[in-house]
């Protein structure tokens, strides 16, 4: 058994390798057990100022399959207070006439490299792949994120309110991913999504074997799998050491404190169910192998990313409750992407598995509604008749679930964070644009008000500053 560490003891921390040993109140019979600070980089996110806002006469997709043709949504203090065909609002609320417009939950991208591969795309900004060892679970994407990446504001104009930023896919285990609100500020902590669990990036297939084939391995797919399994076995061993330490301490003994290993600490977080695995994996057979590795070491893969062949094994992904985070139509840029088809997303959805539309791109993230629209239309043409209200789950509720933040956001339901997009028209269209983007109830972007368009420090004093982007 693995003892769950109490949050109360987190303050007693191991910092920089030196132990801060806490003392209990008066006459300690013995020292309490050491505990590890699991959140050394806490969120300092503060929602921007918001006003109570009522949007009326608007077509609402609530993000969990519901549609109201002409409805209203009220949000107050950053939370959704009411949704319905008509809603009473306090006198001081801002009224927005949504006639002809559509309101959806904000888009959540589960796969972004904004900030870790920032623009300008220079070598100095290449901070996404720690290509020094095939297993680098000890690195955290948040330590690479540059909040001045102009890509954040472009994504905002596309209706993206939250995103997960991951390490790249060069390594078998790339490191920790972080979920952020799309409100970049001075430091990355200022945008970290409060309470979001960590993700951990892993990668199947071509990338790790190409990167490490001439650097000591793995050099093959079978080498990749041996690498994952050894990493998990090491993590189990590490967990057992700490378990033994706590057990012996509880039994009144004075056990030696195990040496901290930041790599195995992250892997152990997965085994404990505290960190969600996001695994880059294209081919159906690679995914099939990983489902067995997952069972062997008793952890859960939250989502396969890219997953261009999920349509081949959608039934098994449904059985194993693993999401697929997919593009609408990317294919062919490498062998493992050769079998990509445009019906992948609707075929996964129709098999009862969890489907997500992701970007992995500073361009794609600006148009995830169009990516969903293409997949929806392609499905419909082959008889997979999914309502648009259901399809919106691919860009809001399902990504929120796979990131462990669905309690807070990802749908228009009372009590949830008011992360919303008011679209000029049906968002399943090339021509529809995000007019208002609200994050925690604050108007973070208003297409008709240039003073609301974010300008990063990098863009100040450069050609095009403040232009419509």
């Amino acid at each position: 058994m693995i003892p769950k560490l109490s949050l109360k003891t987190l303050a007693i921390a191991v910092v920089g390798g030196s132990l801060l040993i806490g003392c209990s109140e008066s006459k300690p019979e013995k020292e309490p057990p050491v505990t590890l600070n699991k959140k050394p980089f806490p969120s300092t996110y503060v929602p921007m100022a918001s006003e109570p806002t009522l949007i009326t006469n608007v077509t609402i997709l609530d993000g969990v399959g519901g549609k109201i043709e002409s409805g209203a949504v009220l949000f107050v203090d950053g939370k959704i207070e009411a949704i319905g065909e008509s809603v009473e609002a306090p006198d001081n609320s801002v009224k927005v006439d949504g006639k002809g417009k559509w309101l959806t939950p904000g888009i959540i991208d589960v796969h972004s490299h904004l900030g870790v591969y920032a623009t300008p795309d220079t070598a100095s900004h290449s901070d996404g792949n720690e290509m020094t060892n095939p297993v680098t679970a000890q690195v955290w994407a948040e330590h690479s994120i540059w909040p001045q990446d102009p890509g954040f504001s472009r994504a905002l104009a596309g209706g993206v309110t939250s995103m997960q930023i991951l390490p790249g896919s060069a390594n078998l285990v790339g490191g920790r991913a972080v979920t952020v609100k799309n409100v970049p500020n001075r430091t990355v902590q200022d945008m970290k999504f409060p309470g979001a669990p960590y993700g951990m990036k892993m990668a199947c297939g071509e990338n790790p074997k190409r990167v490490y084939g001439q650097k000591g391995g793995p050099g093959t797919r079978m080498g990749n799998v041996a690498g994952y399994r050894q990493a998990w076995a090491d993590a189990q061993d590490y967990a057992a050491k700490w378990d033994r330490y706590y057990r012996e301490h509880d039994a009144g003994k004075d056990p030696k404190i195990p040496k901290r290993d930041l790599k195995l600490e992250t892997l152990r977080g997965v085994l404990d169910g505290e960190i969600i695995v996001h695994m880059h994996c294209y081919r159906a057979d690679d995914m099939g192998t990983m489902l067995d590795v997952m069972k062997e070491f008793n952890y859960q893969i939250g989502s396969f990313h890219h997953a261009v062949e999920s349509y081949k094994i959608a039934d098994r992904l449904a059985e194993n409750k693993v999401c697929s985070s997919m593009w609408a139509d990317w294919w062919g840029f490498k062998m493992e992407a050769y079998d990509g088809i445009q019906e992948n997303i609707p075929m996964v959805h129709s098999a009862g598995a969890c489907a997500i539309v992701h970007s992995d791109s500073d361009q794609g993230i600006q148009r995830l509604n169009q990516e969903a629209a293409k997949a929806w239309a392609d499905g419909k043409r082959v008889g997979l008749d999914i309502s648009q209200a259901d399809a919106w789950q691919w860009v809001s509720a399902n990504p929120a679930k796979s990131l462990g933040i669905f309690e807070q956001t990802g749908s228009i339901e009372v009590g949830k964070q008011a992360d919303l997009v008011l679209w000029s028209d049906n968002p399943f269209s090339t021509y529809s644009q995000a007019e208002h983007v609200y994050i925690d109830g604050a108007l973070a972007f208003d297409r008709n008000d240039p003073s609301s368009w974010p300008v990063s420090d990098f863009e100040l004093g450069q050609p095009g500053e403040g232009d419509r982007k």
């Binding site: 300008p120 490498k334 239309a377 399943f428 450069q462």
Partner: protein, 429 residues
């Protein structure tokens, strides 16, 4: 009026039925369609397009009595010219990365020191899966080129048909491309200072060879090979365009100045990310652009003022804009154009950017790019607005023939849409 037309058509039909004994191509009448001709005729509602011997016979704004034609009822549908991939490597690459020979990339070889002599018309694979995948979504022809030679020029590109043919090249040696952006500078001397002087020198070497007989015994000390210099001659004369990749406004102005020094040359700017800043100058110089309208981030320090409104602003100033820079997903050019429309480009200009404008840029507008009498019958019947992401090509015609709307991707899809309980997927058709 109507009777005269009907008479004329029935005469033609008699001719056609005689001919049909010898020719494979059927005569096809597309009726009741909304036809965007991309010609002076504009858009016609409830229109008829008659196709005979692979060519557009006529376009009528009504439905005449028709016999001897296979009739395609396109009520509620939209017909456009086939889309022309403005800048692709179709036929030159199957899988780009770690997957064997890629003919769109080359390494140094004895024939060329500048890349100008390289010729992709030898390299096009008409059976590449990308061809069918692209054509069933409305792309009927394309400009195809190398994208990486490590040299000054990216070789001479070709115009190809995406029809089911083993002779896809419509026009070899159709254009040349060169980059004067950050990437081009990195490639040639590491600086624009070296790049531009190299380019000027290479052009002057080519001019020197004009009209001269040069053979292996000739004394030649150029930095180009003789083959390179000779290859440049027709481009110096403006017979085919030179595509110059430039992003920064200042680099685009350098290209305009180059055009003034070589007034015969036919220059086209590739990307023109900051083109909107010098749109008037481009229009005055009659220089067209091929661009990706979605590129709105400062990927390099030469793209700082990138904006989604670039295409619209250029068009407004009078610049000819073509859209469609992709290879595996050139089928998404219509979405790119749609996004340009969402950001200020007029809709008709959006469709022109995929059809008649690339045809004009590549000098093939006498045969391609619009639905007009005598032109090649490359056209697409769409479920609706082709620039709308939820609409699709329902039937594509190339050379006047309905193409089979099947690709490797539709076959993969259909295999996995079928149930396969007790059967290996390898047996599922």
């Amino acid at each position: 009026m109507r009777n005269v037309k009907s008479l004329a058509i029935s005469i033609l039909i008699i001719g056609a039925s005689t001919l049909s004994l010898y020719a494979q191509a059927k005569n096809i009448a597309i009726v009741d369609a909304t036809v965007h001709t991309m010609s002076d005729k504009g858009t016609l509602e409830n229109a008829t397009v008659l196709i005979r011997n692979g060519k557009i016979q006529t376009v009528l704004s009504e439905r005449p009595a028709i016999s001897g034609y296979e009739v395609i009822n396109a009520k509620g549908k939209v017909v456009t010219p086939g889309l022309i991939g403005a800048y692709t490597s179709l036929g030159l690459v199957e899988v780009g990365f770690s997957a064997g020979t890629v003919d769109s990339n080359s390494s140094a070889s004895a024939i060329s020191k500048t890349g100008a002599a390289l010729d992709v018309s030898y390299a096009v694979n008409p059976k590449s899966t990308l061809i069918a995948i692209s054509r069933i979504e409305g792309v009927t022809s394309a400009a195809t080129t190398m994208t990486r030679t490590g040299q000054l020029f990216n070789g001479q590109g070709a115009i190809i048909s995406l029809g089911d043919t083993i002779t896809p090249v419509i026009k070899p040696k159709a254009f040349l491309s060169v980059a004067v952006d950050n990437g081009g500078a990195d490639n040639t001397g590491g600086s624009r200072a070296a790049l531009w002087t190299t380019l000027e020198h290479v052009l002057s070497e080519a001019a020197f060879t004009q009209g001269k007989k040069l053979d292996p015994l000739s004394s030649w000390h150029g930095i180009s090979t003789i083959a390179d210099a000779k290859a440049l001659n027709s481009f110096l004369m403006g017979e085919q365009p030179i595509l110059i990749e430039a992003h920064r406004a200042a680099d685009i102005l350098q290209v305009i100045e180059l055009g003034k020094r070589y007034p015969k040359m036919n220059l086209v700017i590739l990307n023109a990310t900051e083109g909107w800043q010098v749109a008037e100058q481009l229009a005055d110089a009659n220089i067209a652009v091929i661009l990706n309208p979605e590129s709105n981030l400062p990927y390099e320090f030469d793209q700082l003022s990138a904006t989604l409104e670039n295409a619209g602003r250029l068009q407004k100033a009078g610049v000819t804009v073509a859209i469609g820079m992709n290879t595996h997903n050139i089928r998404l050019a219509k979405q790119h154009a749609g996004n340009a429309v969402a950001n200020g480009l007029p809709w008709q200009a959006g469709l022109a950017s995929l059809t008649i404008n690339p045809a004009k840029i590549y000098g093939i507008s006498d045969t391609h790019g619009s639905i007009e009498t005598g032109k090649q019958a490359d056209l697409v019947i769409w479920s609706g607005d082709p620039l709308e992401v939820t609409e699709t090509a329902e039937q594509v015609l190339i050379n006047g023939e309905r193409i089979e709307m099947v690709s490797r991707q539709t076959k993969l899809r259909d295999r996995y849409l079928k149930k396969h309980e007790q059967k290996s997927v390898h047996y599922v058709r």
